[in-house]
């Protein structure tokens, strides 16, 4: 599997956020996107998720499912959690598991150490716990591409190493990770893409 972008240009709100960006990732490879705030890290991820329009350039995935778009084969972990406070932890995860094509809730909750809080309404969770619940979504539903926007924010040291282990397992299984981050997130050997003014 190979995910490649050629000459990607993004325009948001009339402003050109980035232009002429190219990359190529094979299965099992990770890309860390760094740069100061406003450089366009989040926009790049949203563009790959299909949530921002591509002004110029081409994004291709070779070797994935034939009929599905890149977005349909990706997980997007943005700044927001996509959690409903009125639903319990288990209900939130079960909904996304069902909606995104099927997956197991209990192992995913174990993987992020939230099994004990499964029946608690999501309103009572701390920021770190909410982040972990979003990460559980990535574990529950299997998709080859992970688009992560500052995944370690709000996580403590133990949770960060847990996430690093999950990411390494994903790469070992042939998946692709593109993560926007300010600092190291535990993926040694990942390529780096620095974004900023030319």
């Amino acid at each position: 599997m190979r995910l490649s972008g050629e000459n990607l240009t993004c325009v948001r709100g009339g402003r050109e956020v980035f232009a002429g960006l190219s990359f190529s990732l094979a299965g099992g490879e990770a890309l860390l996107v760094t740069g100061r705030n406003g450089a366009g890290k989040s926009s790049l991820l949203r563009l790959m998720a299909g949530l921002v329009r591509l002004a110029e350039g081409k994004l291709t995935l070779d070797g994935g499912a034939a009929e599905a778009s890149i977005a349909e084969q990706s997980h997007y972990l943005g700044h927001q959690d996509a959690l409903k406070p009125a639903l319990t932890v288990a209900e939130n995860l079960a909904f996304w598991a069902d909606y995104l094509g099927g997956g197991d809730v209990a192992p995913a909750l174990d993987a992020v150490d939230l099994a004990a809080l499964a029946d608690l309404p999501a309103a009572y969770l701390s920021a770190g716990q909410r982040r972990r619940l979003s990460i559980a979504r990535l574990v529950a539903v299997k998709r080859p591409i992970w688009l992560l926007d500052e995944p370690t924010s709000a996580l403590d040291a133990a949770s960060q190493s847990r996430l690093a282990a999950l990411m390494r397992a994903h790469l070992a299984g042939g998946g692709i990770i593109i993560a926007a981050t300010h600092g190291p997130i535990g993926l040694e050997g990942a390529r780096e893409l620095q974004m900023g003014p030319a």
Binding site: A116, L117, L120, P121, S126, G128, Q129
Partner: protein
């Protein structure tokens, strides 16, 4: 002030546990007595001999509906001014009970009006409308429902209580004005009989009716306070569950830090 003794929720729960059986027992006895009086005593003196039974439900319901809002206003002052810890619990518990009695007052009033209208009135039934008194009661019911909706909309209990308290106090000012404006507007259409109980020259009702009415009122009042006490107890327990859940989440968050 005796209220201060019950500022502690745990002591209140203990009091509620002891008092509830007595209150429910007393209500049952009062109801039994009221039903006996209402059915055993012949009310043939009054023309509308069957429909008078509605009065024994309608009048107490009217009193209790209004008393409920008055209670809520006192609780509102307790929340905003005196900062009594259980004032907001009292207010939240009163609202559904008061709303229920207001609804009963409205429906029985409407049914009674329809029955009397058809029986002895001069106009055909299709001219039966909401008269001034019924409209005011309907507005009171709407105010109750609005307060309930307001409390439901805000998650955090103490914030919800303060917001509801302000609305309750505004309601106390507005409700008489509504009553006045409705009376003024619908002047021609008062179906409601004139006051027969609280009048300058003493009660105008016959003795048997008066006694039955007072017993019925006592029974409904006891029921009101039984439900109110139970509702307060439930609300306190509900808040405890909420705190426990918050603590549970917080504990596990710190454990992994």
């Amino acid at each position: 002030m005796p209220f201060l003794d019950f500022a502690n929720p745990s002591r209140f729960l203990a009091f509620a546990r002891r008092a509830l059986p007595w209150l429910s027992g007393a209500s049952l006895i009062a109801f039994a007595l009221a039903i006996y009086l209402a059915t055993a005593v012949p009310f043939a003196l009054y023309e509308q001999s069957q429909t008078i039974l509605i009065m024994f439900i309608h009048v107490p319901a009217a009193w209790l509906g209004m008393m409920g809002w008055a209670l809520m206003s006192v609780s509102a002052l307790g929340t905003l001014v005196w900062r009594h810890p259980l004032a907001d619990v009292a207010a939240k518990a009163t609202a559904p009970v008061g709303a229920a009695f207001t609804f009963i007052c409205f429906t029985t009033g409407w049914l009674w009006g329809r029955a009397s209208w058809a029986g002895g009135g001069n106009l055909p039934l299709e001219y039966m409308i909401l008269d001034a008194r019924l409209s005011s009661v309907l507005m009171l019911l709407i105010f109750y429902l609005v307060v309930i909706a307001l409390v439901r909309a805000i998650d955090e209990p103490s914030r919800a209580a303060r917001v509801a308290a302000i609305f309750t106090l505004v309601g106390v000012l507005i409700l008489p004005i509504i009553k006045f404006s409705v009376d003024w507007q619908q002047g021609k259409y008062t179906l409601h009989q004139r006051e027969s109980l609280i009048r300058a020259d003493g009660p105008q009702l016959d003795m048997p009716i008066l006694i039955t009415l007072l017993v019925a009122a006592l029974a409904f009042t006891l029921l009101f306070f039984t439900l109110h006490l139970a509702a307060m107890r439930n609300e306190i327990l509900r808040r405890r569950v909420r705190s426990m859940r918050l603590m549970q989440a917080r504990e596990l968050a710190e454990a992994s830090a």
